[in-house]
C-alpha cells in the first residue's frame, strides 16, 4: 500500500468524563479526533510485527480475566491463611491506560483468586495516588472497585506517615499504611512511560520507590543516582527483610501499542521483571525509536491525567519531551551521535483536556473559558494563550510555531491520531526505524540486559 493509502480517518479515543482534577473539570466540547484536519495511522501499519491484542478499550474485559486466571494458576498463594490480612497494592496510572477497564478487571480477578484459593477475606485494595489521595474517590467508584472490594479500599500518598526500611544501601522509608498487612500483592502494568527514569531495567520494581515510598526515598531515586543506576533503590527495598517477610506475589497487565496483550504473574518479581522487560523492548522499542525521529511538532493534550502521561498509540507524551537520546541504550555514549542537543521538540501544546498542575516548557494554548481560567490561575508565571475553541487553538499553534506536524495524545491504542503531515512523516520513516531496531538496536538492548534474543 502507498503512504497515502495508509492514512485513515481519525480513530475514536476512549471517552472522557467529568473530573475534579482536570482543567475546567468538564469534558471538552470537542475531541481532537473530530477536527477536520486530523487523521490516523494504525500502529500495525507502521510496524507490521506488532501483535494483535486480547483486549481493546471499550471491549468486554472477559479475556483479561481469563488471562489473569491462567497466569495466577502458576502462582503459590499457600502462604496466605484464611485469617490473614492482604494488601493488593496498585497505582493510579493503571487506570489511565485504555480507560482503565483492563487494569480494574485484573485487580478484581486477583481479589477473587486470593479469596477463592486461600479463604482470606480481609483483602484490601491499596491505591497509590499520584498528586492527591482524592484521586481514588473518582477512580474506584468509576470501576466499581469500592463495592467489589466490599468497601475495603484506601488511598495513600508520599507524605503519609512513614515506616523505616533498613536495606543494603541504608535506611529508606515506605508509606506505613501501604505495607500494614500480613501479605503484600503487587499488581502493576508494563506501560513504558518514563523510560528516561527506569530505562526498562527494573520496570516492575520502580513502584517500591515511586508508588509505595515516602517522598524522601522518591527524591533519593530521582536525584542521588544517575538514571541507569537508580533502580538499585527500589531493588534494595524489595530485597529488604521488611518486604521479604510480607511478600506474596505480583501480577502485571501486559500491553503493547495495540492494546492489552495478557497478564503475567509470579512469586518472583525479579524473574517476571526480566520477562516483562524483554516484551517492553520488543513491543514498544520501534515506536519509541520512531518518536525519536520527530524533530519538531505541536501536540494536542486530549486525554485524562497529566499531559506527560497521556497516551498516543500506547506511548506517553513524555516520550517526546525526552527524545534527545536513546534511553533504552544502557551504554554511556556522551560523545556519540545519539546525544543530540536539539532541545525540546514540542514547540506548542494545545491543551484541550488534561489534569491540572503538570506544565511543560512549550507554548501552552488553552481551549475554552473553563480550561483557560484554570490554566492562568495555576500557571500564572507561564505564558498561556487562551482560545475559545479547539479549531482556533490548533490554528494558533500552527501559526505561532510555523509547524504543521501535530500529534494527538487522546488515549488511543492501536492507532495514533495526528495531522496529515505528521502521518506522512512517520510513515516515511517507519521502515528504516523498523530495520534499525530489528538488526541493531533490539539485539543491543537485550544484550545489555542479559536477555535472550528475540526469535
Amino acid at each position: 500500500m502507498t503512504v497515502s493509502e495508509l492514512i485513515r480517518p481519525a480513530a475514536t479515543p476512549p471517552p472522557l468524563s467529568r473530573s475534579h482534577f482536570a482543567y475546567g473539570r468538564v469534558p471538552p466540547a470537542m475531541r481532537a479526533a473530530e477536527l477536520p484536519g486530523i487523521c490516523s495511522v494504525r500502529v500495525q501499519d507502521l510496524f507490521a510485527d506488532l501483535p494483535e491484542p486480547i483486549h481493546r478499550a471499550g471491549e468486554d474485559p472477559a479475556p483479561v480475566r481469563a488471562a489473569a486466571v491462567a497466569a495466577l494458576a502458576g502462582v503459590d498463594m499457600s502462604m496466605i491463611k484464611p485469617g490473614d490480612s492482604v494488601h493488593v497494592l496498585c497505582s493510579e496510572h493503571g487506570f489511565a491506560m485504555m480507560g482503565g477497564t483492563a487494569y480494574a478487571e485484573l485487580l478484581r480477578t486477583v481479589r477473587d483468586e486470593i479469596v477463592t484459593r486461600t479463604g482470606a477475606t480481609n483483602v484490601k485494595l491499596a491505591v497509590s495516588s499520584a498528586a492527591s489521595k482524592f484521586e481514588s474517590a473518582e477512580i474506584l467508584p468509576a470501576h466499581g472497585l469500592t463495592d467489589y472490594f466490599q468497601g475495603k479500599t484506601f488511598a495513600f500518598g508520599p507524605y503519609d506517615p512513614g515506616i523505616p526500611i533498613d536495606t543494603e544501601i541504608g535506611r529508606l522509608y515506605g508509606v506505613r499504611k501501604a505495607y500494614h498487612a500480613k501479605w503484600l500483592v503487587h499488581v502493576h502494568y508494563d506501560d513504558p512511560r518514563e523510560i528516561h527514569y527506569h530505562r526498562v531495567n527494573g520496570r516492575l520494581l520502580k513502584s517500591f520507590t515511586m508508588s509505595y515510598a515516602r517522598m524522601e526515598t522518591r527524591s533519593i531515586y530521582h536525584t542521588n543516582f544517575p538514571s541507569r543506576s537508580a533502580n538499585i533503590v527500589p531493588r534494595a527495598i524489595y530485597e529488604s527483610p521488611y518486604i521479604r517477610q510480607r511478600w506474596a506475589f505480583s501480577a502485571v497487565l501486559s500491553t503493547s501499542p495495540t492494546g492489552t496483550m495478557g497478564v503475567d504473574a509470579d512469586n518472583d518479581l525479579i524473574a517476571m521483571d526480566r520477562r516483562v522487560g524483554r516484551e517492553i523492548l520488543r513491543r514498544y522499542g520501534k515506536l519509541v525509536s520512531l518518536f525519536r525521529t520527530i524533530d519538531e511538532c505541536f501536540t494536542i493534550a486530549d486525554d485524562t491525567r497529566w499531559f506527560p502521561y497521556q497516551h498516543a498509540g500506547g506511548l506517553t507524551a513524555c516520550a517526546l519531551f525526552e527524545n534527545d537520546r536513546d534511553y533504552l541504550d544502557l551504554d554511556l555514549r556522551r560523545d556519540s551521535a545519539q546525544v543530540h542537543k536539539r532541545g525540546n521538540v514540542v514547540k506548542a501544546v494545545v491543551l484541550n483536556s488534561a489534569w491540572k498542575i503538570a506544565s511543560t516548557p512549550a507554548l501552552t494554548i488553552g481551549v475554552g473559558d473553563r480550561v483557560c481560567r484554570d490554566l492562568m490561575r495555576i500557571h500564572s508565571a507561564q505564558d498561556v494563550l487562551a482560545e475559545p475553541d479547539l479549531p482556533t487553538a490548533v490554528a494558533t499553534a500552527i501559526q505561532r510555531t510555523g509547524i504543521d506536524k501535530g500529534i494527538v495524545f487522546d488515549g488511543c491504542y492501536g492507532a495514533i491520531n495526528m495531522t496529515h503531515s505528521m502521518a506522512e512523516y512517520l510513515l516515511e520513516r517507519a521502515p528504516e526505524v523498523g530495520r534499525q531496531v530489528d538488526e541493531e538496536l533490539l539485539p543491543r538492548w537485550l544484550r545489555q540486559r542479559g536477555l535472550e534474543p528475540v526469535t
Binding site: P158, H196, I220, S229, N231, I232, L332, S380
Partner: protein, 227 residues
C-alpha cells in the same frame, strides 16, 4: 524562584484539632492554638498538602493569594565563590534546577543556606524549594544543608522530613563495592567512575551529580543492614 499564587484558609468550625495539617506544612505556616489550627498567611506557599491531610474534615480551603510573593535568594558576586564551593561539596552544579515545580536552582538554595537560613521550612520561603511536590528538590536541599554542616533533627510525628532518611545519606557514592558487585545490572561502579570523570551524559530534568570534591573510598556496608 517561585511566585506564590494561592494560600489556604481554615474554617474553625470544621477544625477537629488533629494537627495533621501542621505535620505536613513545608513552610511552617500552620501551628496549633489550643485545639485549633491557625495559619500564618505570609508563610503559606500554596502547596495544598494541608488540604489533603485534612480529609475528610475539609476544614481547609484554597484562595487566590492576595499578595503574591517572589520567593528567591539572589546570588551576589560576593557570595558566588562560597555558593560554588558549597554546591561542589554537595555534588551539585550551582546552575542546576533542583526543583522542577518552582525552577529553584542549587545556587539559590546554597546562597540562602550561606545567608543563615538553616531550617528546611525557612528555605522554602527563601527560595521556593519544597513549595510544591518535593519529589526532586527535597534531597538536594538536604544535601546542601548537610554540606554546610547543618544537622536536621525532627520529632517522630513530623511528617515533612524523616531526618534519618532525608536523602543526604543514601546515594551512589555511598554504595559499598560489595553491594555494587551483587547487583551488576545497575552498573553502579561504572556510573560512579563516570561521575568522577564528569562523564555522565546530561539528561533532561535530572540535576547532574558532580564529581566528589575530595574523592574518598566507598564505605563498607552499614552494620545490621546486610541481607
Amino acid at each position: 524562584m517561585f511566585v506564590t499564587s494561592a494560600v489556604v484558609a481554615i474554617t474553625d468550625e470544621k477544625c477537629v484539632g488533629c494537627q495533621r495539617c501542621v505535620n505536613v506544612c513545608p513552610s511552617g505556616a500552620l501551628a496549633m492554638s489550643g485545639r485549633l489550627a491557625v495559619l500564618d498567611e505570609p508563610r503559606c506557599v500554596g502547596c495544598f498538602k494541608c488540604v489533603e491531610a485534612c480529609h475528610p474534615y475539609d476544614a481547609i480551603s484554597v484562595l487566590r493569594d492576595p499578595n503574591p510573593r517572589r520567593l528567591t535568594t539572589p546570588i551576589t558576586d560576593e557570595f558566588r565563590p562560597a555558593v560554588e564551593e558549597l554546591c561542589a561539596t554537595a555534588r551539585l552544579d550551582p546552575d542546576a534546577v533542583i526543583c522542577l515545580c518552582t525552577s529553584t536552582t542549587a545556587g539559590e538554595v546554597a546562597a540562602a543556606v550561606l545567608g543563615g537560613v538553616h531550617e528546611p521550612e525557612d528555605l522554602a520561603l527563601a527560595t521556593g524549594v519544597r513549595a510544591k511536590c518535593g519529589m526532586w528538590c527535597l534531597t538536594p536541599a538536604m544535601r546542601l544543608l548537610r554540606a554546610h554542616g547543618v544537622d536536621i533533627t525532627r520529632p517522630a510525628k513530623d511528617q515533612r522530613i524523616y531526618a534519618d532518611g532525608d536523602g543526604a545519606e543514601v546515594a551512589i557514592w555511598t554504595i559499598s563495592d560489595e553491594v555494587a558487585d551483587r547487583y551488576p545490572e545497575y552498573r553502579l561502579r561504572e556510573d560512579l567512575d563516570a561521575i568522577e570523570r564528569d562523564d555522565v551524559p546530561r539528561a533532561v530534568g535530572f540535576p547532574d551529580i558532580r564529581p566528589s570534591p575530595s574523592p574518598s573510598p566507598r564505605p563498607s556496608p552499614r552494620p545490621g543492614t546486610d541481607r
